[in-house]
């Protein structure tokens, strides 16, 4: 069952990723990115990272890709690009070679990684020993049973909170600062300057030069 879920998710993710690089229309590419992100979110759920799975859908697929689509629609660039032009000679085969090289490199590392059963006591020790019982089962009340939804097993959100506000609080504050800086940067970059906004009957080649001083 776990293998089936992983296989379906893997197919969805790889299909979405291939769709991003193959589709000529940016809107189609954004939608296949959403498919890949949904597959990754389900993968996170199978890995007991429930908070991250939900946050992935809400933030990544629901905000970042929507931002992409806003910009695509705002600029009217949903016209397909021509895939035939190659600015560097033999760029496409070179890119495929580089991609294959990256894949080989990462897989080489993954094979060499020690994946034997871990005896380390990490932050999630109780998840392997807990049992799941239905809510009306009288065996839930016996004293030596560790339930998967009981108080001994901390929820994923509280585990992440213990880390973010504990060991990683500095990184948390710095990412808050980063977000503020990026918002300020976005506002500054998209300002139109001090010139008056273009009138409705202006021609297409408007420029944003400062208005000359009247002598």
């Amino acid at each position: 069952m776990a293998i089936a879920v992983f296989a379906v998710c893997a197919v969805i993710i790889i299909a979405g990723a291939l769709g991003v690089i193959i589709f000529r229309n940016p809107v189609h590419a954004a939608l296949s990115l959403v498919a890949a992100l949904f597959g990754a979110a389900v993968l996170f759920l199978t890995l007991d990272a429930q908070f991250l799975g939900v946050v992935q859908v809400i933030v990544y697929a629901g905000a970042i890709v929507v931002l992409f689509l806003f910009v695509i629609m705002l600029l009217g660039v949903d016209v397909a690009e021509r895939l035939q032009t190659e600015p560097i000679a033999r760029q496409r085969p070179l890119a495929l070679a580089v991609g294959a090289g990256v894949l080989a490199l990462v897989l080489l590392f993954a094979v060499g990684f020690d994946l034997s059963p871990s005896t380390r006591q990490g932050a999630m020790p109780a998840l392997d020993n807990c049992i799941g019982l239905p809510l009306n089962d009288p065996a839930r009340d016996s004293p030596d049973v560790v339930l998967c939804d009981g108080p001994e097993v901390a929820s994923n959100v509280s585990q992440i909170a213990e880390g973010v506000f504990g060991d990683y609080v500095w990184a948390f504050q710095l990412t808050g600062l980063l977000l503020t800086v990026s918002v300020v940067g976005a506002v500054v970059l998209t300002r139109r300057g001090r010139s008056l906004p273009a009138p409705a009957n202006a021609d297409v080649t408007h420029d944003d030069r400062q208005p000359e001083a009247v002598s």
Binding site: I13, L18, I21, V102
Partner: protein, 100 residues
Amino acid sequence: MVDSFWYLALAAVVFAIGATGLLVRRNPLIMFMCVELMLNAVSITFVALSRRLGDMGGQISVLFVLVVAAAEAVVGLAIVVAVMRRRARVTADDLTSLSG
């Protein structure tokens, strides 16, 4: 949960697809999406190994990767909007005014 190697292999494939797409495509918006693909592949790696080793730091790192990806997308798209206001159809090869 399947064996960790398959999660790492899937993340490797997605990363390679994203890297290839970044090198092939010339539309800046699609190049951004390829970068997001690569960040997603790294997130899958982080979460798989976090579950494997029982260390919460992997999932917290994914949270930070998400935040940084959001900030990068915001600024990058602001740049794309600012550039594309001047000329209509811009590809990554036309932005050469900073080159020597």
